[in-house]
């Protein structure tokens, strides 16, 4: 199994080596985001919001973990559709779970690289030290990574079923979740009816925890409990949904149609 997962991972890593557009996803766009939000937060700090750098840059870097993780799954498989390689993968003796696992590992690599680059730049340019989160850093990272995998699996399942028409979801889904997840502002800012919905997402708990940790200097582990519990639920549901959708896709012949269009 690991040989096949490694082979798929290698295929995606080769792509990053060969494709400027793909490499830019890890380095260029996140760095541009960091620069914009970094300067915005410096400005806020000057006009009397001292924690702006902490909250905005912390939110940005962590949001990127979720985004890269979700994109790794969706873009990797969509790339196979774009280059008409999907059938080659699906007629190889590979389990669908192995394909998903390879893209999840790719998400981990992308998120680690991106976080490392953004963390270093944030420290150098804005004196924001991500390590201020202390021992909470890793579980927050892991929680957003897992949520990204779950959302990525659901998005990919929909794309395999509905084809090119659903590709906008690759970029649209994260931005649908961003305002509800209270990435850059406290949950209390949201209208009360939306707060209940926001708490259904692990990301909301992580960002609330991140702000509490940065504000007090003490790691807030409390929000991790609902975050991980929800992640278990979402991952199980996403796996089941993906499996069910694949069954439908096979039954209806969408896979071959999509791969040979």
């Amino acid at each position: 199994m690991w040989g096949r997962v490694g082979a798929l991972l290698l295929r995606y890593l080769y792509l990053y080596r060969r494709s400027l557009a793909r490499s830019m996803e890890i380095f260029f766009w996140p760095v541009m985001d960091l620069l914009v939000w970094g300067f915005v937060s410096v400005y806020f700090q000057r006009v009397g919001a001292p924690r702006a750098v902490l909250f905005l840059l912390g939110g940005l870097i962590f949001w990127d973990v979720f985004y890269r993780s979700q994109q790794a799954i969706t873009l990797s498989l969509t790339e196979e559709i774009w280059v008409r390689n999907l059938l080659n993968v699906f007629i190889a003796p590979v389990r669908i779970g192995e394909v998903v696992l390879a893209t999840c590992l790719l998400g981990l690599i992308r998120a680690l690289l991106s976080t490392a680059v953004l963390g270093i730049l944030a420290l150098v340019l804005y004196q924001f030290d991500l390590l201020l989160l202390g021992p909470a850093l890793l579980p927050y990272f892991a929680s957003l990574l897992l949520f990204g995998w779950a959302v990525g699996m659901c998005t990919m399942a929909v794309i395999l079923r509905f084809g090119h028409a659903a590709e906008a979801l690759i970029w649209g889904t994260p931005f649908l979740l961003q305002p509800i997840s209270a990435v850059f502002y406290p949950l209390a800012v949201l209208p009360s009816w939306l707060r209940g919905i926001a708490l259904l997402f692990p990301s909301t708990h992580v960002f609330e925890g991140m702000r509490a940790t940065l504000a007090t200097g003490r790691p807030a582990f409390g929000p991790l409990v609902p975050a991980f519990a929800l992640n278990v639920l979402y991952l199980a549901a996403a796996g089941a949904f993906f499996g069910w959708m694949m069954g439908r896709v096979r039954e209806k012949g969408y896979l071959a149609r999509l791969a040979m269009e």
Partner: protein
């Protein structure tokens, strides 16, 4: 030639809503046999291949490959088969070596470097090994796809219009390479093409499909005799226009 069927499709039917793409089709292919799957566009050839590869589930019927039920042993079967089509390709932004290396790993091929080199030699394109796939000519791409299809030394090979984009010279070289592998390794091939002359040259037996049903089956010579025709092309046109040939 071993007479035991390697592929056995029994009463295969595939419906997509109101449309019946494959309608009660039964056939078998023996070890080392090249079986041509012929018919006009929409006759059900591609759907039949998709069913045989387990990409699409049949509405009813049964497929056995190597004596194993495809529905239950798909991965085990896929380890021993492969597929090449003019309508799919390898990632264009990877080099030929990278692409073949990735698929070699997926199929668990040992000594990949040697195997890749052998196959590039077989299809007479050793010089492209370091070239990015997107920079190859269409003829070279087709031959690299065939290299991928032979990586795992398959016992069954599905070839969907393998020479569609090749000039006559390269197409002949590819046909010769396929025949050589069939002879030396006893590979069973399911072959589709719209080039009837090629089918006559390559296939041991052919099946004509029309509206998802088998309308004629036999060796090219038998079909020609039954249709009282001098070429499969004429038989094809007769069938495509709704005509029948005598059993």
């Amino acid at each position: 030639m071993n007479l035991e069927p390697v592929i056995k499709a029994e009463r295969l039917t595939k419906r997509f809503g109101e449309v019946t793409a494959v309608d009660d089709v039964s056939f078998s292919a023996r070890r080392g046999e090249i079986l041509g799957l012929l018919g006009p566009n929409g006759a059900g050839k591609t759907t039949t291949i998709q069913l045989l590869l387990g990409l699409t589930a049949p509405t009813s019927g049964r497929i056995r490959i190597f004596g194993l039920e495809l529905a239950k042993h798909r991965r085990e079967i896929l380890q021993r088969v492969n597929f090449s089509s003019a309508y799919i390709s390898l990632p264009f932004n990877l080099s030929v070596r990278e692409n073949l290396d990735v698929f070699g790993r997926l199929y668990g091929v040992r000594d990949r470097r040697r195997r890749i080199s052998e196959l590039l030699d077989l299809f007479e394109i050793p010089e492209v090994i370091r070239t990015v796939t997107g920079k190859l000519s269409s003829g070279q791409v087709t031959r690299v796809n065939l290299c991928k299809a032979f990586l795992n030394d398959p016992e069954v090979l599905f070839l969907d219009e393998p020479t569609a984009s090749l000039d006559p010279d390269i197409a002949e070289k590819v046909r010769n390479a396929l025949k050589r592998v069939q002879r030396e390794r006893g590979v069973t091939m399911i072959y589709t093409s719209h080039n009837m002359r090629e089918i006559e040259l390559v296939c041991d037996r052919v099946i004509f499909l029309m509206h998802g049903r088998v309308v004629a089956e036999g060796t090219p010579r038998e079909i020609l005799e039954r249709a009282d025709s001098e070429s499969l092309e004429k038989v094809f046109i007769t069938i495509a226009r709704g005509g029948r040939i005598e059993d």
